[in-house]
Amino acid sequence: MAILVKPDTKVLVQGITGSFGGRHSKLSLEYGTQVVAGVTPGKAGQKFEDTVPIFDGVAEAVKETSATASAIFVPPPFAADAILEAVDAGLELVVAITEGIPVRDMIEVKAAIKGSATRLIGPNCPGVVTPGTGKDSHGGCRIGIAPGYIHKAGDIGVVSRSGTLTYEAVWQLTCNGLGQSTCVGIGGDPVPGSTHLDIIKLFNDDPDTRGIIMIGEIGGSAEEEAAEWIKENCKKPVAGFIAGTTAPPGRRMGHAGAIISGGKGTAEAKIAAMEDAGISVAETPSQMAEALIKVL
């Protein structure tokens, strides 16, 4: 019924006592997500919102609560260490929300976790949501900072580099009566834990995902790589949108990874690759759901 997380997935939060991590952990609890532990070194024994036990380290938290997924909210200088700790503890899924981690730290992390069983999503991402079946999709698994109520349980998979643009797509789907299996924000950094392609392969293999929306932006060539694979291998209809047609070359457009450099990573090249792969590309960001409905 979903990829990466299910409504009963047990989640721990690294950085739960920070203001940002705390605010969103509370929202996840209210959404009905199984937030079973928090990790803040030195604060073991305390409780978050009087219910969620806090541990000094991830390994202890996993041992005591059987959590299988982590949300990382720790500040950039400590985020790489937090990711490595979560991987070391054997979690299945690590979602790094933190924005502003140095690229060099992520290069090291990505090389270090190669071959491990852990899937890393992010950093600099809105997180992962598998909507629940309650009112306003209550009862789902929300890891990260996405608004829960815009979702609706269903069979469309969404993968995106951007936060608010993902919410835009999800809201369009929900307003059109199309629910989502899982929505995955892979983040706007140049060294992401998972790529569009990684997530699209999961959606392709998920029996409960019927169609896919892939949202990309300028910079890198991840969208082209995904399009190439989709052309040969994807069994499901895919719609997409690329942001940054009007972005000037050589400028970083908010996200660290959103930059056209040396003529590479343009929106035009990405859109052409997607169209060549048979992906239904929305002309404007208001038409993302419409573009998918056309090919469903």
Binding site: G100, P102, T164, Y167, G188, G262, P285
Partner: protein, 401 residues
């Protein structure tokens, strides 16, 4: 964050890379005294180079007609005269745009006898998430041109970030550049130093173009980085206080500097339709929608996730300083943020800035009904829209009216 050539060379020298001797200066008198020192040390030629964050310096033309931002000089008097002509003057190069760039700093360096020129760069390979070294036998020219016309001249090497660049890999690269004999060792040492600079300084890119074989006064040869460009990962500046201090605000657009004080991500463009959006992806998509409906975006502006009244007001003030702006679009998807808070912020900002330009507001998300009614009851003549497409069409029509 981009660095000047002289700053890049300081960092490279710190990591064992051979660079021509020289110093930066900000007055013609200083330029003369640095040049005198170089001539006294036996240099026959001294090179004078303007320090701006733009390429094409050599072929640039100053606004008063003075030609070239790079000069080879044979005497300290010549250095003084040319420095005087360039300092404070504004140069236009193929990369600066018509406005040009005012010159505040010069690099005075030894004019090396160049025997051969190569290209060397270290950057991130986004496909593999590894450092990538690019080397080319063709130096001193645009690498993108070489990639098109003579791709075989370019050698690429992915480096295992956990092991770092190995000496044999550096030697292989030196050989691939066509170096032989002793120069293989000095070439490999330089390549290793450039890689180390990239890694240790958290650089996004280090580019040496040209990397040169230069002839010493005694006729022997060595390898040196004759020009250098470095950009640094802004997210890593917290652990490089010295590099953070190299930021040159003269090289950044004044409005962008102002915006960064309020944690606003603003990039000025040339169009007439301004936009104020939350989230980088949505901000780009909003610009695209404006273009799609026949307008031209005046800026990229991401107010981030919280968008306080203070930030929204600052954003309006910055937008209004751009004289090209004819209409403004506010596009907010308030996921967690309360749309009514945003609406109150917009109303306060409009009142405080005495906005007279047409304003189109599209709010979506949390508590949007209250937000819409705040806007409707504000007494302001703003235009509302339900979707991004509708908002873009309306603002483009207003800008054209």
């Amino acid at each position: 964050m981009n660095l000047h050539e002289y700053q890049a060379k300081q960092l490279l020298a710190r990591h064992g890379v051979e660079v021509p001797g020289g110093q930066p200066c900000t007055t013609a008198d200083e330029a003369r005294s640095i040049a005198e020192g170089l001539f006294a040390a036996g240099q026959e030629m001294v090179v004078l180079k303007i320090q701006i964050h733009s390429g094409g310096r050599g072929k640039g033309v100053f606004k008063d007609g003075f030609k070239g931002g790079v000069h080879l000089c044979k005497s300290a008097d010549d250095v003084h005269e040319k420095a005087k002509a360039m300092l404070g003057n504004t140069i236009v190069t193929k990369q600066t745009g018509e406005a040009g760039r005012q010159v505040h700093t010069l690099l005075v360096a030894s004019g090396e006898k160049i025997v051969d020129e190569f290209y060397l760069a270290v950057l991130l390979n986004r496909e593999t998430s590894q450092p990538l070294i690019m080397a080319s036998r063709e130096g001193g020219v645009d690498i993108e041109e070489v990639a098109e016309t003579n791709p075989d001249a370019i050698v690429k090497l992915n480096v295992d970030p956990l092991l770092g660049l190995q000496p044999f890999q550096a030697r292989n690269l030196a050989k691939a550049l066509g170096l032989s004999g002793k120069l293989i060792h000095s070439g490999a040492k330089l390549i290793a130093g450039v890689y180390k600079t990239w890694w240790e300084c958290d650089a996004s890119m280090v580019e040496i173009n040209p990397l040169c074989i230069v002839e010493n006064p005694d006729g022997s040869q060595k390898i040196a980085a004759v020009d250098a460009k470095i950009s640094v990962d802004a997210n890593a500046l917290y652990r490089h206080k010295d590099i953070a201090g190299m930021r040159d605000l003269n090289e950044e657009a004044a409005l962008e500097v102002e915006a960064s004080k309020f944690d606003l991500n603003y990039i000025k463009l040339d169009g007439s339709v301004a936009c104020l959006v939350n989230g980088a992806g949505l901000a780009m998509a909003t610009m695209d929608a404006i273009k799609h409906y026949g307008g031209d975006p005046a800026n990229f502006l991401d107010v981030g996730g919280s968008a306080s009244t203070e930030q929204v007001t600052a954003a309006f003030q910055i937008i209004l300083k751009d004289p090209n702006v004819k209409a403004i679009l506010v596009n907010i998807f308030g996921g967690i943020m309360n749309c009514n808070t945003i609406a109150e912020g917009v109303v306060a900002a409009v009142k405080e800035t005495h906005l007279t330009l047409p304003l189109v507001v599209r709010l979506e998300g949390n508590n949007v009904e209250a937000g819409d009614s705040t806007l409707a009851n504000s007494g302001l003549s703003l235009i509302t829209a339900d979707s991004m497409a509708e908002a873009a069409q309306k603002v483009v029509a207003e800008a054209a009216a």
